[in-house]
Symmetry: C2
Subunit: 234 residues, 2 copies
């Protein structure tokens, strides 16, 4: 059992709040819950209204379409908020763990009440949502206006940047537990084409993705063909 102030200090939401700020607010308690790899944490269309904040591990947030296809909306990482809705209602997307995943689970109603009585929390949540917005907008450019190469390159660079911010990447290297199939559902491509594209990227000595390990080889060129600008992740 922990209070929310602990979350507030986690990256990338930032830690401008001291523990003291929250002493009168520990009614807003959160439990850190641990899930096994490949478990479903929250299911699309379900009515349970918890909000999740990722503490550690990899997850995917996805929406299944009627024809059996799915689109992965985002890969929430440490500090990211999932499931906040503008109104009461069913979940719009499912959250599933990829690795072992630790999440804070907060009652939606209690979080809203806490926002009402503590402006700093409202600000943090708003900022976090604004950042997610920017990420989604960038994914939209990816699927809408970039070809397979530049799209894949862009996403791998995004991951590198996001992971750096939570100390999970350095020197262009990081662990990425996503399968090519999952990558395909993120990028709006087929598994087969993801495979070919990764081969191309490797052959061009730009970036390699093998056995869950990503290594940026030629950052300058990669950034160029991806049209990558990290400003949106700040």
């Amino acid at each position: 059992m922990q209070t929310l102030w602990q979350f507030m200090r986690s990256h990338p939401i930032g830690g401008t709040l001291s523990k003291n700020d929250w002493e009168n607010n520990d009614f807003l308690s959160v439990t850190a819950k641990i899930y096994k790899p490949h478990s479903v944490i929250g299911r699309q269309d379900d009515d349970n209204s918890e909000i999740f904040i990722v503490k550690s591990g990899w997850a995917i947030l996805y929406h299944g379409l009627l024809d059996g296809e799915r689109q992965i909306i985002d890969t929430p990482l440490t500090g990211d908020i999932v499931g906040f809705r503008s109104v009461d209602g069913p979940r719009l997307a499912s959250l599933a763990s990829i690795t072992e995943l630790t999440v804070y689970e907060i009652s939606s109603k209690e979080l809203v009440e806490a926002i009402l009585s503590e402006g700093r929390l409202g600000k943090k949540i708003a900022c976090s949502l604004a950042r997610l917005n920017a990420i989604l907008a960038e994914h939209l450019m990816n699927t809408g206006r970039r070809n397979a190469m530049s799209r894949t390159a862009h996403f791998l660079l995004e991951l590198e940047e996001r992971l750096s911010m939570v100390r999970l990447s350095a020197h262009g290297r990081y662990e990425c537990p996503l399968t090519q199939h999952e990558l395909a559902d993120i990028l709006g491509m087929t598994t087969v084409h993801v495979n070919r594209t990764l081969r191309e990227l490797r052959k061009a000595d730009l970036v390699s993705f093998k056995a869950g390990h990503v290594q940026v080889i030629n950052r300058k060129k990669l950034v160029e063909i991806a049209g990558f600008d990290n400003e949106y992740l700040r």
Copy 2:
């Protein structure tokens, strides 16, 4: 010159606040500014940090890529917030008017201060951003996992729903001042293909888009091929 409470009562952000709620807060004044059709209200990469709230008219929020392509992120409508960022920094996208456009312009810094001192504002902003998130996620499904037909159908249904909420659509009819070229940049397609797709939709007696006028003809079938569920717009 108006105070922000006026905005708060506008759809779809909802009007749970009374004028009284804001009497001690009219330091947060906002000016409603009117722009001519096809003017640029805020430019990508610029450092001015106003936040815009659309009062009336049509606008597009877009991001230009290096190769001259652009992706339209959203078409903000009455009540929608544009330009809120998680940190200080340049604009991530440009905002341009399509029709005559009236927007409230609010200093980013002042808005954040107001959020800090008034929880209800923070809640409203957070909810508004969460809704935008849901819209972007849906656009992502569109470009990532739906074909031209169902993608176009989906967007036309989204517009119908969003416009209904601000009383600008009824009985499946609404005015839409977007060109096919703009539609293409929203949907991640080419102008030519948008044209062909609209013809198909018309020929199948599903929906017609002619001369800025949209008419849903067979809603049931249209919803079906689009895989449309309006829940995300609530």
